[in-house]
Symmetry: C2
Subunit: 158 residues, 2 copies
DNA sequence: TCATTTTGCTTAGCCTGTTGAAATATCTTC
DNA sequence: GAAGATATTTCAACAGGCTAAGCAAAATGA
C-alpha cells in the first residue's frame, strides 16, 4: 500500500468521524445536525437573516425557510421583521435555544481542540500546513462564490 | 485567529470539497452519491447482500431496500435469490452498472491523487503523518466494529 | 412620481434518504 | 414439526433538499 492509499484512508477516517459525530449530536441535542448548524450560525451573533444562513450553508432560501420553521416550532429561534428593511426577517435565538446549544455535546470538536492544543508548537505548525495543503488540493478551482457548506460542521474553535 | 482556528477551517474546507464532489457526481453520473456508494461496494466483488451493504454504509436494511429498488429501476443492479440460503438476496451489478461506475467522473480523487503524487517525497510523508494524526484525534475511542460509512466516499485509490 | 426591476422570503409540490414496526419467507433447532 | 432466529420487504412517516411561483418591500430611473 503506497502513501497515496494511506493518505486517502486517513481522509476517509476524518470524514467518517465527522459523520458519526453528526448522528450522535442529533440524538443528544434533540435536533438534527443540520438544524444544529443553523443554531450555531445564529448564535454567533445572536441573530441572522435566512438568506445569510442559507448562503453559508450552501442551501436555498426555500430550504432555510423550512429549517427555520422547524426550529421555531421547537421554540429555539424566533422570526422578527427587520425595522430598517421590512423585506428582511431577522432570526433570533431564544433563551431556550441558547442553553440548548451551550449544553449540547460537542465531542468531536472538544476532542480535537483539546488534543490539538496539547501538541507542541512545531507539530501544530506541521498539521496546519498539511491540512491547508490538502484543502487546497481538494477544493482547487472550486473557489467560486459558492457557499461555506460543511457537513455536520466541525465548528468554530473555542 | 490562532492555529486551532486555522486548522479547523482547513478541515472544514476538506469536508466541503467532499460534499460538493458528491453533488457533482450525482449530476454527472445520473445517480446520487449514496447510490454511487452502493454501486462501488457491489462492484468490489461483483455482488453483495443487502444486509452486508447496509452494514458497511451504516444504514438499516429498510434503507438499503429502497436504495436497491432505485438502482434496479435504473438497470444498474439485479436481485437474485441465493441458492444456498433462499432468505438471502444477492445483488449483482449489471454490465450497464459496471460501465457507469467505470466511466463515472471522479474529479475529487483524480485531482487529489495527481497532486499528491506530484509532491516531493518529504512532503508526502509530512502530509500522511499529519492526516493520520488528525484522524486519530477525531476518531479515537470510536474504533468499534461500526461500518465504513463515509459521505460521498473519497474512494479507494487506484 | 410611479412603473419596473430587484431583493428577501414563503408556499407548494416533488424527490431522496432515512427510520421503526410489522409482514413474509426461509432456515435452524430441539 | 413447532418454536425461534434470520434475511428481506412493505408501509407510514419524517427530514432535508430542490424548483417554480408568488408576494411584499425596496431601489431605480425616466
Amino acid at each position: 500500500m503506497d502513501r497515496t492509499d494511506v493518505s486517502l484512508i486517513a481522509l476517509r477516517r476524518i470524514l467518517r468521524a465527522t459523520e458519526l459525530y453528526g448522528r450522535r449530536l442529533a440524538k443528544e441535542a434533540g435536533m438534527t445536525a443540520v438544524q444544529f448548524r443553523v443554531m450555531q450560525i445564529i448564535a454567533e451573533t445572536g441573530h441572522a437573516t435566512p438568506t445569510a444562513i442559507a448562503n453559508r450553508m450552501g442551501v436555498t432560501q426555500a430550504t432555510m425557510t423550512s429549517l427555520i420553521d422547524k426550529l421555531v416550532a421547537k421554540d429555539m429561534v424566533e422570526r422578527k421583521r427587520s425595522e430598517k428593511d421590512r423585506r428582511q426577517t431577522n432570526v433570533t435565538i431564544t433563551p431556550l435555544g441558547l442553553t440548548t446549544i451551550d449544553e449540547a455535546p460537542d465531542p468531536l470538536q472538544q476532542r480535537y481542540v483539546k488534543k490539538f492544543e496539547a501538541m507542541q508548537d512545531w507539530e501544530q505548525a506541521m498539521i496546519v500546513a498539511a491540512l491547508e495543503r490538502v484543502a487546497a488540493m481538494l477544493d482547487a478551482d472550486e473557489i467560486d462564490a459558492s457557499p461555506v457548506l460543511d457537513i455536520g460542521d466541525i465548528g468554530k474553535a473555542h
